[in-house]
């Protein structure tokens, strides 16, 4: 572990001043459940840590009927919040499907969003090549163990996946990210925050150095009151998603009036399944339509040596989750 300084930031401006100023080696510290591991593995070598757990940990209703979630809200607090559970159940379930209670108690909303891939070659600083860690070095995952890797949106330079469960729900819910940077405050649609790897796999997001996440805003979304999150993994708990599906569905008179669908475990970013949504809107809420929508989303999937099963698995889980939402009588009525 490299020596570093540690400071607690009183508020957002102070944090940006401390970190954004910009000593290149500064990092914001949330719960530390990802960053500290990365420091121990010498993948992150910060010279300064700016603790931002003192930022807002409040969850407040917005005028429009949405929620404003402070960046320092702990994952557990978010999942347990009454309004989250009633209005956005998929988000509560996604969070609870992730990590362990101990980790969720520590993890913050911003830290969860910015956690890095779990690709084993990325973590193997000493012994493996990785373009995300060292641009231009090569990618040992493409021809190596890649069961956990991407089937959508990958590039020849990186096939990693974004590991978060929470983010899959945020992608489906059309969240907005509030930022403070050296240039002041700005907002960003959540869907535009994470990047596909392209030929810059070292950049997980579009954020600039020093950018601080201050809050995440959820819009009012009645459809989401009846929503689900299904995570498929290699053991019952405490494993990252092979495939996960966040979905909300509104059906009126047998016709899909609204649908929100996002996938986890399949791409470099939480994957909003826009093609499937488009294919479904206005269609009958039938298994055939769900199958066609899922197939449309997965048409361009390019599996690797170990993860071809994910295409079939994603297809099945999308259909099953939509089917359950439609059938169980829980499907939103659009009201």
């Amino acid at each position: 572990m490299m020596p570093f300084t540690y400071t607690q930031a009183a508020d957002a401006d102070a944090a940006v001043r401390l970190a954004g100023g910009q000593q290149a080696g500064a990092r914001y510290l949330g719960g530390g459940t990802n960053l500290v591991d990365l420091i121990r593995e010498t993948i992150e070598r910060p010279t300064a840590l700016v603790d931002v757990t003192g930022l807002s940990d409040g969850i407040t209703e917005t005028d429009g009927g949405g929620l404003l979630i402070g960046a320092a809200v702990r994952n557990t607090a978010l999942a347990e919040h009454r309004l989250v559970r009633s209005r956005y159940p998929m988000l509560a379930r996604a969070i609870l499907a992730g990590a362990s209670p101990q980790i969720r108690n520590m993890a913050t909303v911003a830290g969860n969003i910015l956690q890095r891939t779990r690709c084993a070659y990325f973590y193997d600083q000493a012994g493996s090549r990785c373009n995300k860690r060292e641009p231009g070095q090569g990618c040992d995952a493409i021809d190596g163990f890649n069961r956990m890797h991407a089937i959508l949106g990958a590039s020849p330079s990186c096939v990693a996946t974004h590991p978060s469960d929470m983010c899959v729900a945020l992608a489906a819910l059309d969240a907005t990210v509030h930022l403070t940077g050296t240039q002041g405050e700005r907002r960003l649609p959540f869907a535009d925050l994470h990047r596909l790897p392209g030929d810059e796999p070292d950049r997980d997001t579009v954020l600039q150095p020093g950018d601080l996440i201050t809050a995440v805003e959820l819009p009012a979304l009645p459809t989401a009151a009846r929503s689900a999150y299904r995570k498929v993994r290699d053991r019952s708990s405490y494993a990252f998603a092979l495939v996960s599906v966040a979905a909300a569905l509104a059906v009126e008179n047998g016709t899909v009036t609204d649908v929100r669908l996002a996938l986890g475990g399949v791409a470099h970013k939480p994957w909003r399944a826009s093609k499937a949504e488009q294919a479904l809107r206005g269609q009958p809420a039938t298994e055939a339509a769900f199958q066609a929508a899922a197939a449309a989303e997965l048409a361009e999937a390019t599996p690797l040596r170990d993860n071809a099963f994910k295409v079939e698995l994603a297809q099945r889980v999308i259909v099953a989750v939509l089917g359950e939402l439609a059938e169980s009588g829980l499907a939103g009525d659009g009201a």
């Binding site: 572990m1 490299m2 020596p3 121990r40 010498t42 779990r118 084993a120 070659y121 193997d124 000493a126 012994g127 493996s128 040992d140 021809d143 190596g144 163990f145 069961r147 498929v232 290699d234 053991r235 019952s236 708990s237 405490y238 494993a239 092979l242 099963f309 079939e312 698995l313 099945r316 889980v317 099953a320």
Partner: protein
């Protein structure tokens, strides 16, 4: 000469005479014509009671000191740097930045490491302990990906870790054997000096001619060791003596082996290991203790080395992968005519044994012909090693899945097929079984589990999205007892007995069960018995391995007890109610000796010692050679029953019920035994469904070297596990007990796979059975 005089003489000569007498007495106990251990008959003592762990309160309070928690004055912390190539030479090794880093006391590499003898490879001698006999940091060669290339000592662990990250190395790589196709030679493997090969009749011809037959290839992946406590040691040199606080399942072996490596007398090395946080075969002598001792000597400071989880993956071997072909031929009634079990497994040239997966097949079923063989191929990787039930754990996967496939083909119930093929004597050696009650275990287990509710037609039971099925398999593990057992009993004037034995408590309950056994043997309450263990200064060369520690310790204490009775009778003399009685006319009861058929003739230990003016009586006994296994085929068994639910959409498997019905001889403590059985079964669930070392065949590097990526069952993966047992004592084992530490993992993988087949109609022969294989 009076009895008293004789007693005195004997007391003086105890040390010399013990060995000889023990050997003379031994055959009586366990061998043909001998009298079984008298404790087998005793029904109302401490044996068989669910006594709670004597070390439980200490552990719950966090007060039990583990090896890497011992603090020594002036201690420094070690960190290891590991190679990143599988084979080649170190060309440059820049340690300048590391040496200059804050807090650094020493950077040791092959350039400045003291000259060391190669570690004695386990099984190469009575007390050889090393899992790997490669030279330890003695040259610029790299032998596997992950081999230590440098060790840093610093004032804090963080400083050591940081400095380690500053070491820069370049290599001249050489072509390495890191996958079976590139293996550096293959040959028939050997285990304990015997070739892993057995031929009876012409199995291939019998198989070809059989009216019913199944043939399939089963593969199991490599497995890494993941004991809760990673390996660690805290050690110090005092003059020319080395004191090691170790986490080991072999204190005496380690002391002797370290002495060989460092050119010392055995007595100059002291190994203490009172608590071990799980061993499973891995807690032997690996490079970390050797490197730490070498560095401590160079630096002149005590050293603590605590391997990280990655460190355990890099330098402590695991179970090798196997590729096993099983072919079973049966006649029209289902009687086996041919058992063929052949396959291949990789090994290093520096490890003690190849994964001996044919072991369970040697005594499982009666058949006219056998062809068994383990081919072993040499790879450049961390030395593979023992892991809970080496051989049986993965061998039963292949054999017992094949039996299920044969039952299906014959249209027979899998339990009945197994019972039909139950052998009358050991099918290969022809020896009689010492005690074999697998049929009773199957009947009891089947009834308790509700086996009759199983629908033999696969995929016939569905609950919502979940396909439900049941499967069974046979568990088996041999009785072992290794030479070298010895124990000392110190009986004091207050009637308190202390047992000293170089045994190990790795969480199994050793200290507890031996307190119970000794209390019964001596006729004492539990509170009056203390068992001291986990230190190389204590008597005996006792490995906590091969499920043999209980037998080894039990017999050693039994031999010491015979000495004790003889000595007490001599001390009692003519003024005692016991006057004139011989050792086989008395028993130990109520803290004293009494005549077997005349309870009134009794004298307490306290009284005997007081009258003879002794403050204590010390005797030692040694266990004789384990000849019992030359006369009998000695094996434990279990009937394993599993119910699974497989999600029809996602292929996820959930084990919903599990039952193990065991025949392991007498169960000494049902509480600790149940825990051992369940622990083994849980490990077997991991083997069945998720455990897999990701060994990258391109460069021989293990990629999933942490508990996030290497999957073990979590609580939610473990259903309620019921364990029952026959509790039929084995007349040829000490206390009638055959050992229970490893059997739980055997048979479990096949029971799960067979249940999955019953649920889904799918035969998955490539382990672990992950969901993608069931889509």
């Amino acid at each position: 000469m009076s009895i008293v005089d004789k007693g005195k003489e004997a007391a003086q000569g105890i040390a010399q005479s013990v060995m000889k007498k023990a050997v003379e007495l031994a055959p009586g106990a366990l061998l043909p014509g001998g009298r079984p251990d008298p404790l087998i008959r005793r029904q109302h003592g401490h044996i068989g009671k669910p006594v709670s762990r004597v070390d439980g309160p200490l552990k719950v309070r966090g007060a039990a000191p583990f090896a890497a928690e011992i603090a020594l004055d002036g201690m420094v912390y070690a960190a290891l740097a590991y190679s990143t190539i599988a084979k080649g030479r170190i060309v440059t090794l820049d340690t300048g930045a590391a040496e200059a880093a804050p807090g650094v006391v020493l950077v040791m590499t092959h350039r400045n490491a003291p000259r060391l003898n190669p570690p004695p490879r386990f099984l190469s001698g009575d007390k050889a302990a090393a899992g790997d006999d490669s030279p330890v940091m003695q040259d610029d060669r790299v032998r596997w990906n992950g081999e230590p290339i440098a060790l840093v000592l610093a004032e804090t662990q963080e400083q050591a870790d940081h400095a380690r990250s500053l070491i820069r190395v370049t290599y001249a790589e050489e072509p390495a054997a890191t996958s079976l196709p590139t293996a550096d030679g293959c040959e028939v493997g050997t285990f304990m000096g015997e070739p892993l090969r057995a031929v009876v009749g012409d199995a291939d011809a019998a198989f070809a001619a059989a009216p019913h037959k199944v043939e399939a290839v089963y593969t199991t992946p490599g497995h890494n060791h993941n004991a809760l406590e990673p390996h660690g040691a805290t050690l110090v040199w005092r003059g020319d003596e080395l004191f090691i606080h170790d986490a080991t399942q072999a204190v005496a072996h380690t002391a002797w082996s370290m002495a060989q490596i460092f050119d010392l007398e055995e007595a100059q090395v002291h190994v203490s290991s009172p608590f071990v946080g799980g061993g499973f075969g891995a807690k032997g002598l690996w490079q970390h203790q050797i490197l730490a001792a070498a560095a401590a000597r160079l630096a002149g400071r005590p050293v603590r080395i605590a391997l990280s989880r990655e460190g355990v993956y890099r330098i402590v071997g695991g179970r090798s992968p196997t590729e096993q072909r099983v072919a079973l031929g049966a006649d029209a009634d289902g009687r086996l005519t041919a058992i063929i079990h052949r396959g291949v497994t990789p090994k290093t040239r520096h490890s003690p044994m190849p994964e001996p997966f044919i072991l369970p097949t040697q005594s499982a079923y009666a058949a006219k012909t056998f062809a068994l063989e383990v081919q072993t191929c040499y790879l450049d990787m961390v030395a593979n090693t023992f892991m809970r039930a080496p051989g049986e754990a993965v061998g039963t996967v292949a054999l017992e899945c094949a039996m299920d496939e044969l039952a299906e083909q014959l249209g027979m119930d899998p339990v009945e097929l197994r019972i039909l093929n139950e052998p009358e004597k050991d099918p290969l050696s022809g020896r009689p079984f010492s005690s074999r009650n697998i049929v009773a275990a199957y009947r009891a287990g089947a009834q308790r589990f509700g086996w009759e509710r199983r629908n033999p037609v696969p995929r016939s039971r569905r609950e919502g999205d979940w396909l439900v099925g049941m499967g069974c398999a046979t568990a088996t593990y041999p009785y072992h007892r290794m030479p070298g057992g010895a124990a000392r009993i110190t009986l004091d004037a207050a009637g308190h007995a202390r047992i000293d034995v170089a045994a190990h408590e790795m969480g199994m309950g050793t200290a507890t069960t031996h307190t119970q056994v000794a209390a019964d043997r001596l006729g004492l309450p539990l509170e009056a018995v203390t068992v001291r263990y986990g230190d190389s200064s204590l008597p005996g060369v006792i490995l906590a391995g091969g499920s043999q520690q209980t037998a080894s310790v039990g017999l050693s204490v039994m031999m010491a007890h015979q000495e004790l009775v003889g000595e007490l009778l001599k001390l009692a003399g003519n003024d005692s109610p016991l006057a004139g009685l011989g050792a086989d006319e008395v028993e130990c009861a109520d803290a004293g000796l009494r005549k077997l058929d005349e309870p009134g003739r009794f004298e307490s230990y306290a009284s005997i010692l007081a009258r003879s003016g002794r403050s204590e009586l010390v005797v030692e006994g040694s266990a004789p050679m384990p000849l019992e296994t030359m006369h009998w085929s000695m094996h434990s068994h279990g009937a394993m029953f599993c119910e699974v639910r497989v999600n029809a959409i996602t292929g996820e498997t959930r084990v919903s019920r599990f039952l193990g019905s065991f025949d392991c001889g007498r169960i000494l403590n049902p509480k600790t035994a149940a825990s051992q059985f369940r622990g083994g079964i849980i490990m077997g669930l991991g083997l069945a469904l998720m455990e897999e070392t990701q060994f990258d065949g391109r460069n021989g590097r293990i990629m999933n070297r942490n508990l996030s990526d290497y999957h073990l069952p979590v609580h939610l993966d473990v259903p309620e596990i019921e364990v029952i047992w026959t509790d039929i004592p084995d007349p040829h084992a000490p206390m009638g007990a055959r050992g229970i530490g490893e059997i739980g993992i055997t048979g479990t993988g096949a029971a799960v796979a067979n249940a999955i087949h019953n649920a889904t109609g799918r035969r998955v022969r490539e382990f672990p059975i992950t969901l993608d294989k069931l889509l």
